[in-house]
């Protein structure tokens, strides 16, 4: 197993996540895609840690897993909250950041 394969896998995962964020509208899928991208980055960190024989990267990975777990709870709570507002989990429904129509 060469490090290139790990990087390739990480790139692949990151790209899948990115495409998911950009193209999917279901909030759960968007959330999962984000998680995928984070995992890809974790993988890169772990690989570098191994390559350089330093444990710094591995420590950060472990730290991040914990953070991601917390973030998952927050994220799911937000989705529930959003659903209660509009009865929808379609991300295109939530356009509060948009330029208001009358200004167009």
């Amino acid at each position: 197993m060469t490090p290139e394969n790990f990087f390739l896998l990480a790139t692949l995962l990151f790209s899948i996540g990115l495409v998911g964020v950009v193209s999917r509208r279901n909030l759960f899928v968007v959330y999962m895609s984000i998680e995928l991208m984070l995992s890809a980055i974790n993988l890169v960190l772990a690989t570098f840690s191994r390559l350089h024989n330093s444990m710094d990267g591995a420590v950060i990975v472990l730290l991040m897993i914990a953070v991601i777990a917390a973030e998952a709870a927050l994220f799911l709570a937000m989705i529930v909250h959003l659903y209660r507002q509009r009865r929808s989990i379609d991300s295109d429904v939530y356009t509060a950041l948009a330029q208001k129509k009358e200004h167009l």
């Binding site: 990115l18 964020v21 950009v22 999917r24 991300s91 939530y94 950041l97 948009a98 330029q99």
Partner: protein, 628 residues
């Protein structure tokens, strides 16, 4: 000496206080307060002015009293002070302006009683007094110009006093704009004087001392331009058309501003610059010709008018023409003497006319008056004295001053001017007695009863009537047994021309004869019945319509200007400038629209933009690092 400062300052302060109190509560009627303060200010000024006059006349003839209020402009070594001076010329102007001004203020308190804006009126009136005194007492041409503009401003405000009628607003604007044309000439002349004198002081005294520095052609130009200013202010051809329209203002305004004081500012200015005009007799001759022409022209128009105030307005213009004949021919003291006597009888005529107008419920058409001799005895008597004075019947004031001017014109051998002036003298008697006969003698039917006149309106008439009757004796010629005290007192650099006593008597007799002929003609046509002139013949048509001068100006000046304005408004501004801006605006709007589409609030699009941005950044980094 600070008295001079106070003379000018008191009316200004009073105008300010009156204006503030008026603005504090516009609706509230404070008749007594407004009238008392409004009259007190010119009264104080006149007491101080007479005091100054006494002091100056006790000094030597060329003595000047100076007073510096404060330094206004300092440019290196060159200073312009707000400074005042009183020599004998200013003292003469000062005395009659303040005294007659006070009388007219008292009269105005009676005339304007009960009118809306009474406090405003007195505020403006006092502002005028202050400005006029500033003009007369100025130590340098700059301060004179400030006063010159301020009297124009207060004249504008007072002509448009009855601002509910748009015709009055038009008249006020007309007066203001025509005066701007004149002021344009005046200020260029001042600038030229300043440039040519190269900073060697700018008071009247230093200009007089350095007049030799200016070469003759430049001096001619300056003289002409100064006279343009005088033309505007003193209503001479071609800038006279505002004066008849200025009668839209209240009658006391006409009496004070458009008869006695402001309109004579042009004559005063020429006399003040007499040292300059003595160097350029050609320009003086031109001034005299304009004056003679204006005098005759206005007298002809006045003979056919039917509005009492318009008649007096044209008469004022005609008398101003006389004054310009005098100052143009270098007979400055005769000109100022006529200013002096004219102020008395013309103010009296206007105030008498105002009394008649009030008594007849604001009727101004003389053909609707008639037969007032019995009802308004006092007004009739005083008006008769004023009419005799202006017509040049001895021993009333007008005879002596007018006779001096005609004698000067005759002695200067400008016979055409002399003939025009003599003809005008006849016409003056004709139109003045025409007015007097129609108003006080001829029969006419009246519906309303006469309104009573208050004492405030009548006793200033008596004082002025006394002045009109006797002021002429101050300037009694040697030929008539006097010693021309006035001319000796005022001590202006007159061009001396000798005239034998016998020819002076001849001229005097001729003048009286002319006046009597004019009076007789008026008596013959108007004493019994008064019929308003109809526009039946071509001549009457032309004269009653004032020779269509207003229409001519409208065609030559107003309309081309309006077309130019419309052109630059509709085409250059709206289509041109606004068009270019419109293209720019729509460009911004379009690109703005594009960007708002990007900002649609959908999070996944934003993620895409981030992706695109990161991708571009990565490409750039790769390019820099040489990865590709």
């Amino acid at each position: 000496m600070s008295t001079l400062v106070f003379i000018v300052l008191i009316p200004f302060v009073s105008a300010f206080v009156l204006g503030m109190v008026y603005l504090f509560d516009v609706k509230k009627e404070r008749y007594c307060f407004y009238a008392a303060l409004g009259i007190l200010a010119p009264m104080l000024s006149s007491v101080l002015a007479l005091n100054v006059g006494w002091q100056v006349s006790a000094l030597e003839t060329d003595a000047v009293v100076h007073a510096t209020f404060f330094k206004w402009i300092t440019l290196g070594s060159f200073n312009i002070d707000v400074a005042f001076m009183a020599d004998r010329l200013s003292v003469v102007m000062l005395s009659f302006i303040t005294v007659i001004g006070t009388l007219i203020h008292i009269y105005a308190a009676g005339y304007m009683r009960g009118e809306a804006g009474f406090g405003k009126f007195f505020s403006y009136f006092n502002l005028f007094m202050g400005s006029m005194l500033l003009l007369v007492l100025a130590d340098n041409p700059i301060i004179m110009f400030v006063g010159w503009e301020l009297v124009g401003l207060s004249s504008y405000l007072l002509i448009g006093f009855y601002h509910h009628d748009s015709a009055n607003i038009k008249a006020a604007n007309k007066a203001f704009m025509l005066n701007r044309v004149g002021d344009f000439g005046f200020i260029i002349a001042l600038a030229l004087l300043f440039i040519t004198l190269e900073g060697s002081g700018y008071s009247f005294a230093s200009i007089e001392a350095h007049i030799g520095l200016i070469d003759h052609s430049m001096l001619t130009l300056i003289g002409m331009l100064l006279f343009v200013g005088a033309m505007g202010k003193s209503a001479q051809i071609p800038l006279y058309v505002w004066l008849p329209d200025a009668m839209a203002g209240p009658t006391p305004v006409s009496a004070l501003i458009h008869a006695g004081t402001m309109v004579t500012a042009g004559v005063y200015m020429v006399a003040r610059f007499s040292f300059l005009y003595n160097e350029i007799p050609d320009v003086g001759e031109y001034i005299a010709i304009i004056g003679a022409f204006s005098a005759l022209f206005a007298a002809v128009i006045a003979s056919y008018q039917s509005d009492i105030k318009k008649i007096l307005a044209y008469s004022t213009m005609s008398q101003l023409g006389y004054m310009f004949i005098a100052v143009g021919l270098g007979a400055y003291s005769s000109g100022i003497f006529h200013v002096f006597t004219h102020a008395f009888f013309k103010a009296l005529l206007f105030m008498g006319a105002g009394a008649v107008i009030i008594a007849l419920h604001h009727e101004q058409n003389i053909f609707k008056m008639g037969g007032l001799k019995k009802e308004l005895k006092l007004v009739y008597a005083t008006m008769l004295i004023a009419t005799l004075a202006i017509s040049g019947i001895p021993p009333f004031a007008g005879f002596f001053s007018k006779d001096a001017i005609l004698a000067a014109a005759f002695a200067s051998e400008h016979y055409s001017i002399w003939i025009a002036a003599t003809l005008t003298a006849m016409l003056t008697a004709f139109y003045m007695f025409r007015m007097l006969f129609i108003v006080f003698f001829a029969n006419a039917e009246r519906k309303n009863d006469l309104l009573p006149l208050t004492k405030m309106m009548t006793w200033p008439l008596i004082v002025l009537a006394l002045g009109s009757a006797t002021a002429g004796f101050l300037g009694l010629n040697e030929a008539y047994g006097g010693s021309n005290w006035f001319g000796g007192f005022i001590d202006l650099p007159d061009q001396s021309r000798h005239l034998s006593h016998s020819s002076e008597y001849m001229l005097g007799i001729l003048n009286v004869l002319m006046a009597v002929i004019g009076t007789a003609l008026a008596y013959r046509f108007y004493v019994k019945s008064a019929i308003e002139p109809k526009t039946d013949t071509l001549w009457r048509h032309a004269v009653i319509h004032k020779f269509y001068i207003d229409e001519l100006y409208d065609l030559l000046v107003v309309r081309p200007l309006r077309y130019l304005s419309v052109l630059s408004d509709k085409l250059i501004d709206q289509k041109g400038v606004d068009g270019i801006l419109g293209v720019l605006v729509s460009g911004y709007k379009f690109s703005g629209g594009l960007f708002t589409r990007l900002q649609n609030g959908k999070v996944r699009y934003y993620a895409l933009y981030i992706l695109a941005g990161v991708a571009l950044l990565s490409l750039k980094i790769l390019d820099v690092l040489g990865g590709i």
